[in-house]
């Protein structure tokens, strides 16, 4: 039986080793200044801090839930820093690093997890669509958006592209695969960026896919590659190449960022039920921040003052996250009826006014519900 499955070990594109050695990669030459690397380091540290602060806020009851990006900072910062203002990103629900790069304020980010909004920011303003919770759905929106870019004639020089974020688990969903296919058939300017963090809640990657994920792309007729997702430089270089390719009209690419979810799936989850701590230790050695720090230190590109100033900034941002979160106002009850429809809707209006009357009936009766 002729077997078209290649079983060699997949190549992992890496530019910066865990030890902080800049090896580079022949296919992905990256011209990057010390300033730029320091800026990436700052991004990584600060988003980790926003994240850990959010985890604490959830523990304190200030957030209903939080999905931590711990361990995935490089994949997110690297890929998102490859975007321009003209590009559009479609995140899943864990892309706080991407949101950071797109200029989302913590208060906008936390609203959904606090339950004061289901969205949070203006997608058009930031070039970042809202978080999408139903796994795989946004891959199709991204593809359609990219098909719109094509129809705007916005490919070619100064072209625009789209990036769709999703996880390893999401690659099992019909929608994700339909998105691959629509994008391929239409040659749409979209980069599919899969953060393979090895787990979909409790299910290891092997329960989701038998082949390495990046190979899926070839079956749909476009390139795919696996990048070291804990290497911010590799993620930047590979995503940049894929985006350029898309913007120039050469169609989609699938980038599999090989990384690790160092924390729980969400604050509701208890990973000790399903995975061994040794695995975590292994990945700690590949920490995405540590290697950048080592690189900067080893090459004398940053001094203690720099690292201290980043840490201080992290403190300030941690504080900001706490303050902004607690200050988020609860929505008014009648907001339930807002923005269900754009057009006037007598039916909704009637329910709104009936409910307003009902609420008013408690006024004066002391506490609401004080029947």
């Amino acid at each position: 039986m002729s077997d078209t499955t290649a079983h060699e070990e997949p190549e992992l594109i890496q530019l910066l080793t865990p030890e902080g050695e800049l090896t580079g990669h022949p296919d992905y030459p990256l011209e990057i200044s010390a300033d730029e690397v320091r800026a990436l380091y700052r991004d990584l540290v600060l988003v980790r801090r926003v994240d850990s602060e959010a985890v604490s806020l959830q523990r304190q009851g200030e957030l209903g839930l939080w999905a931590s990006l711990l361990g995935q900072e490089a994949a997110q910062i690297g890929s998102a820093r490859a975007l321009t203002d003209r590009d559009m990103a479609f995140p899943s629900y864990r892309e706080h690093g991407v949101a950071w790069c797109r200029g989302i304020e913590p208060e906008e980010l936390l609203g959904m997890f606090r339950g004061v909004t289901n969205g949070g920011w203006d997608p058009h303003e930031h070039g970042l669509h809202l978080y999408t919770i139903v796994i795989g759905s946004q891959a199709l929106h991204a593809t359609g958006y990219a098909m719109g870019i094509q129809r705007d004639g916005a490919v070619g020089e100064d072209g625009s592209a789209v990036i769709a974020y999703f996880g390893d688990g999401a690659t099992s969903q019909g929608d994700t695969n339909e998105a691959f296919n629509f994008a391929a058939v239409d040659n749409a300017p979209v980069v599919f960026f899969c953060q393979n963090n090895q787990w979909a809640i409790s299910e290891p990657q092997g329960r989701q896919s038998r082949a390495p994920i990046y190979r899926r792309a070839a079956g749909y007729g476009f390139p795919g590659m696996r990048v070291d997702g804990n290497d911010v430089l590799a993620c930047l270089a590979v995503t940049r190449a894929a985006l350029t390719n898309a913007r120039e009209g050469n169609g989609p690419t699938l980038v599999e960022a090989f990384t690790y979810r160092m924390g729980a799936h969400t604050t509701n989850d208890d990973p000790s039920r399903y995975r061994a701590s040794a695995e975590l230790d292994e990945w700690k050695a590949k920490d995405p921040i540590l290697r950048v720090r080592r690189y900067l230190e080893n090459n004398g590109l940053a001094d203690d003052a720099f690292f201290a100033s980043v840490d201080e900034e992290a403190e300030r941002i941690g504080e900001q996250v706490r303050t902004q979160c607690r200050a988020l106002p609860d929505p008014e009850p009648l907001e339930i009826f807002d923005e269900v429809y754009a057009e006037p809707n007598v039916h909704i209006d009637q329910q709104r006014s009936e409910f307003a009357e009902y609420l008013a009936s408690f006024e004066g009766a002391g506490a609401e519900g004080g029947r």
């Binding site: 289901n118 203006d122 719109g148 339909e178 923005e339 429809y341």
Partner: protein
């Protein structure tokens, strides 16, 4: 300017008018391009507007609605064709969890002006999945508008109104009536056409109200004609969500009786809500309970049984009789 058009040709003309009016309007779906759709509703559009605006998509309904959402987010106004009612279901997730909720999710920052056209209903002698009446799934989903049409005039204007709406619209086309012909006044200004939000009294009457929509309007009018004992007022619902209750309630308060009919199955069909709501609003006016004449609560049967399964003239008249038996 009026012309005699079939419903299918009237939708085609309406699509064409919308595409001429707004370059952001796109048509997409399976076989909508060169073939012009299996019912030829998009006939000629591919030739005249090109493959970029009339898109033959891969065979994947979730993909069609999902990418159309993305295009709408980019500023387009896609009009999606689902080939047959029974093939909508792969698109349920995109329609219910994404399309219907996007405006609300974004607190109004995002609009998804998408129209999903679905030829629906039975009576064409087809194999399974080609005769479904899924409207109640849509009307139970907040965030969607649901329209249907019963004549070429509404077909022509309705599709244009649906396309100009900032809300997502499920546009249900009564496939067994595609070839019914009537005069359409295509000369009216867009703003002067009767809004699809309003129900229409298709035939005034005094003794009982007969409510229907889409494919059943023809039957309802026949029933009103056939029932020489009673003067039946026929209302064409047109908008299934939201429902124009003022028109219905005013009529029922006058007549004291409501008979309603649809091809959708009885239990939880659109008639259930209308019956419940009208009973609330007309409690002291109703001389009989609301009578529903619908398909049975079984899967759509093999086509040799559909004449029995679908409510027809006799069953509607029987329903009227039941209402008057109280």
């Amino acid at each position: 300017m009026t012309s005699k058009l079939t419903i299918s040709k009237a939708i085609n003309a309406g699509l064409r008018a919308a595409m001429e009016h707004d370059p952001k309007v796109l048509v997409m779906g399976e076989d909508v391009g060169r073939l012009g759709g299996v019912f030829r509703v998009t006939d000629g559009l591919h030739k005249d507007f090109g493959a970029d605006r009339v898109i033959d998509t891969p065979l994947a309904e979730s993909g069609i609605v999902g990418t159309a959402i993305g295009m709408a987010l980019r500023g387009y106004r896609p009009v999606v064709e689902i080939q047959f009612d029974g093939f909508f279901f792969p698109a349920t997730n995109q329609t219910f969890t994404q399309l219907a909720k996007m405006r609300r999710r974004s607190a109004g920052k995002l609009s998804v002006p998408l129209v999903i056209r679905i030829p629906y209903g039975g009576g064409i002698g087809a194999v399974e999945h080609h005769s479904e009446s899924p409207e109640a799934y849509f009307t139970h989903t907040p965030g969607l508008r649901v329209m249907t049409i019963a004549n070429p005039e509404d077909a022509y204007w309705g599709i244009q109104q649906a396309i100009r709406s900032e809300d997502p619209v499920i546009f249900l086309e009564p496939k067994r009536r595609y070839y019914e012909k009537a005069e359409v006044d295509t000369g009216t200004a867009f703003d002067d056409a009767l809004s699809m939000g309003a129900a229409r009294i298709a035939r005034p009457g005094t003794d009982a109200t007969l409510l229907a929509y889409g494919p059943m309007i023809k039957t309802a009018l026949q029933a009103a004609e056939a029932d020489t004992d009673h003067s039946l007022e026929v209302i064409d619902l047109r908008s299934l969500a939201p429902v124009d209750y003022p028109t219905i309630v005013e009529s029922v308060k006058r007549t004291g009786r409501l008979v309603l009919t649809h091809e959708a199955t009885l239990t939880g069909g659109p008639g259930a809500e209308i019956a419940a709501r009208v009973t609330e609003e007309c409690f002291y006016h109703l001389e009989s309970p609301v009578i529903r004449v619908t398909a049975f609560d079984t899967p759509y049967p093999q086509s040799r049984l559909e004449e029995h399964y679908l409510p027809d003239l006799d069953r509607v008249l029987d329903g009227v009789d039941r209402a008057f038996a109280y």
